[in-house]
């Protein structure tokens, strides 16, 4: 039960090294990118990478809480597709009566947020109250949402009305002070997430629940409510990510958000959160997300490898990023 004899370094008494791991990996990628292509550090490229990281990033922040509290959610990708589809249908339907303007955008956003929270609560309810393995619950809802969006779209693509899309577009592409909205929302999510995780009661309760639910129960932590809230929060953040996603291309289809769940979970773990629960860090997740986005970006910016091998390079870098972290830990 104690771990000291087996893995002397696993404890977190010297966090500096485990912290260094992902950061070093990120820096190495940045250096490689800069060396390979002069435009890599251009404002445009940085903005692109950050803005497109925002979807997975916002979701991964929520995933950090779910995993820290000992859960898992495989449904986020298809949940995002479903919410995007729903949002588009509702906005298109409301268009004749509401006309193009701020109100209809707000309606769409409200739909996304409410749908996200409800979807999260459904997952949470099945996991906590019915006590089913999170893996199975969310594998099931993953199939359900994916099917539903295909069905809503009649197998094709749901597209936002063209006029509405033009009106809504700035939510992805514009921003303030040259920083685009997805980046701003992502940054805010991360800041709030980090504070909640490391300084709030809720964050403590998540860690306690994931670490040992019995101890948490005996310490007056409402284990089920904490878990339920992490799922609801993740659902909410999926909704927020969708609000940023829809204005980008104005459409949703069966292929929207495919594999986002694996990417989000990978980002969380690369960032140093423990998959079995009990310890999570939001800022690490951000680094994980950036690492994953940068790999793609760098591969697109160079011609060194056959595009067929992109997946292999990704795989190797993901493993290396985590090795770095563990090696550093082991020395620490």
């Amino acid at each position: 039960m104690t771990t000291e004899t087996l893995n002397p370094g696993k404890g977190r008494t010297l966090p500096s090294m485990s912290v260094l791991g992902p950061v070093v990996a990120l820096v190495v990628l940045l250096v490689i990118g800069t060396l390979l292509n002069a435009n890599f550090l251009s404002a445009a490229n940085i903005t692109n990478v950050l803005a497109r990281s925002a979807f997975i990033g916002i979701i991964a922040v929520g995933m950090t809480f779910v995993i820290t509290a000992g859960g898992l959610d495989l449904s986020v990708g298809s949940m995002a597709a479903f919410i995007a589809g729903l949002m588009i249908i509702v906005m298109n339907a409301a268009l004749p009566s509401m006309g193009i303007g701020i109100p209809i955008i707000l309606l769409g956003m409200a739909v996304a947020i409410v749908a996200g929270i409800l979807a999260g609560l459904l997952n949470g309810f099945l996991v906590t109250t019915l006590g089913i393995e999170a893996f199975i619950v969310t594998l099931g809802t993953m199939g359900i949402y994916r099917s539903l969006v295909t069905w809503l779209a009649d197998g094709g693509t749901l597209s936002l009305d063209f006029g509405l899309r033009t009106f809504y577009r700035p939510v992805y592409f514009d921003g303030i002070l040259g920083i685009s909205w997805p980046i701003i929302v992502f940054a805010l999510t991360v800041i709030v997430g980090e504070i909640v995780m490391s300084r709030s009661h809720f964050g403590r309760h998540c860690a306690a629940t994931g670490s040992n639910e019995h101890v948490a129960h005996y310490s007056n932590v409402n284990v089920n409510r904490t878990r339920l809230l992490t799922y609801a929060m993740l659902g909410l953040l999926v909704g927020v990510a969708t609000i940023m996603y829809v204005p980008r291309l104005g459409s949703a289809s069966a292929s929207t958000g495919v594999l986002w769940e694996l990417e989000a979970i990978a980002a969380v773990i690369i960032g140093g959160t423990i998959l079995k629960g009990g310890f999570g860090r939001v800022w690490g997740t951000v680094i994980g997300v950036l690492i994953l986005s940068l790999i793609d970006n760098i591969l697109n910016l160079t011609d060194l490898v056959s595009p067929y091998l992109n997946g292999a390079i990704q795989g190797v870098i993901i493993i290396l990023a985590v090795i770095l972290q563990r090696e550093a830990k082991a020395k620490g």
Partner: protein, 505 residues
């Protein structure tokens, strides 16, 4: 009685990071001799034992086996050399059965397959040797703590050790079980096994040990034959001061103060039924009973920790309903669990997080006030004499006794008016025990109500103003004044035709 040393340490030191916890320890285990290693919580007993058994490497110094220097590169070599250790922490896989645990790592085979029949039969035999009634196919997660310990002992005995090392094996055992264990220890000793043993129950040490070695702060401060040292002298050598008055003075019980907690008709399905009692202000109420008599479950049910019903619960005269742990805390009612590993502490978290978990609302509104937490930890370390090498260490790396102290400090963070403590001194050294008793009495004197559940008869008798005795989940008697004696308690606890699944505490 004694021959040449089988296993010995010479000038062994051990450091965890920058902290040295053993400073040049030497000791010798001889065949056919029981050596007791005693010392305060955190003195280094468990660490010494782990080094002897090869579970941890020493930082410097030598380990001698039959006079030859050895380094155990893997646990396997320690076992090969016939060294078997019973850990202070349970060392059983919860999801496996008793039989699977006992034979784990050395399963018997017939050809390629397991010889299940033989293993089951042998398990039965080993369990019989320690008079343990559990079925070999029971999952370990379903056993009570004392049964787990007996399984652990059976597992150790089954290995026919040359050297048997036992780290506080009796902490969770009843008196009767302890006697069974000691019978086995004597038998092994007579057949030439070298035995190292530690306990905070000094009476047991006098009873079973041939030699006594006292550790204080990582150094040996006394080593000699057991007959030459009295229990008081042991305590003094360990703690560095006299601890003869273990229990604080009880107040004269002529003033009947008001009732703080009134419970009527408390039912905990499957464990207890129809429990009713009053707890007065300034009173320490003991709860005695056999293992399995439902004491723990009754109090957990009362505090909303497990499903329960009650006809009536009053706190401070007002009727209350308690359906979840938060309700109990809101009414100033707090329960200290008997199982610090599984229900008490987050072993992979630090001291600070554990200390404040239950009373987090006291440390800031939405955000946690880290500085207030640090101050609370300072205070707790001082108040409860918690000895941690570093403040930032994982709680799982604290010595057993210091974990228990931290648990007590944690419970006190919620500032209960009514405190229920379940086996509060398990694994606590005698000096600290005295402090805890004084502390509980002082709480009572300050107007709190205290309920103490304990399987140590002396503790109940020494500490409590009144004693409830439970039998098979029902209240068998309420004793006060001179009626509180070992004899009466046992009589009420056993009753007539007592349930055979219960054992004498």
């Amino acid at each position: 009685m004694s021959g040449s040393p089988v296993l010995a340490l010479r000038d062994v030191t051990k450091s965890f990071g920058p902290v040295e916890v053993l400073h040049g320890v030497s000791l010798e285990l001889r065949a056919g001799e029981v050596l007791a290693l005693i010392g305060e919580n955190g003195a280094g007993k468990s660490t010494t034992m782990k080094i002897l058994a090869g579970y941890q490497p020493a930082t410097s110094g030598k380990i001698l086996l039959d006079g030859e220097e050895v380094t155990f590169d893997s646990l396997h070599e320690g076992e090969e050399a016939g060294i078997v250790m019973i850990h202070q922490e349970f060392n059983l896989a919860e999801q496996l059965t008793v039989e699977q645990n006992i034979f784990l790592g050395r399963e018997l085979r017939r050809g390629w397959l397991l010889d299940k029949a033989r293993m089951r039969r042998l398990t039965r035999e080993y369990l019989d040797r320690v008079n343990c009634k559990v079925h070999p196919d029971t999952l370990v997660s379903r056993l009570s703590n004392s049964d787990k310990q007996m399984v652990e002992i059976a597992k150790a005995l089954s290995r026919n050790a040359r050297v048997l090392i036992m780290d506080e094996p009796t902490a969770v055992l009843t008196g009767a079980e302890t006697r069974i264990l000691f019978d086995q220890v004597r038998a092994m000793k007579n057949s030439g096994t070298a035995i190292l043993f530690t306990s905070h129950k000094l009476g047991e040490v006098s009873e079973i040990a041939d030699r006594v070695t006292v550790l204080r702060d990582g150094s040996v401060v006394h080593d000699g034959p057991a007959v030459e040292i009295s229990e008081d002298a042991m305590a003094t050598a360990m703690v560095g001061r006299d601890v003869s008055d273990l229990y604080p003075e009880k107040p004269a019980d002529d003033v009947q103060s008001d009732v703080m907690l009134r419970v009527r008709g408390l039912d905990v399905p499957g464990h207890a039924a129809g429990i009713g009692f009053d707890l007065h202000r300034g009173e320490i109420l003991g709860v005695a009973g056999l293992i399995g008599s439902g004491r723990t479950e009754a109090m957990e049910g009362l505090c909303g920790l497990r499903p329960a019903r009650a006809e009536r619960v009053e706190i401070g005269g007002d009727p209350v309903t308690i359906s979840k742990p938060g309700d109990a805390l809101d009414h100033g009612l707090c329960y200290l669990t008997e199982d610090r590993k599984l229900r008490g502490l987050l072993l992979d978290k630090g001291l600070r997080e554990n200390l404040t978990l239950q009373a987090l609302h006291k440390f800031g509104g939405y955000l946690i006030d880290r500085r207030a937490e640090e101050r609370a930890l300072d205070q707790a370390i001082a108040d409860f004499d918690i000895r941690a090498g570093q403040r930032s260490m994982r709680v799982g790396n604290l010595s057993g006794g210091n974990q228990q102290k931290l648990l007590l400090a944690k419970v006190m963070q919620s500032e209960p008016r009514i405190l229920i403590v379940d086996e509060p001194t398990r694994g606590i050294d005698i000096g600290t025990k005295q402090q805890i008793y004084t502390f509980l009495r002082k709480l009572a004197d300050d107007g709190h109500g205290i309920i103490v559940i304990s399987s140590e008869m002396q503790e109940v008798i020494g500490l409590a103003d009144r004693v409830l005795v439970l039998r098979s989940g029902r209240l068998a008697a309420t004793l006060d004044g001179d009626a509180i004696s070992e004899d009466t308690i046992v009589r009420h606890a056993m009753g007539v035709g007592a349930d055979s699944s219960e054992r004498v505490a």
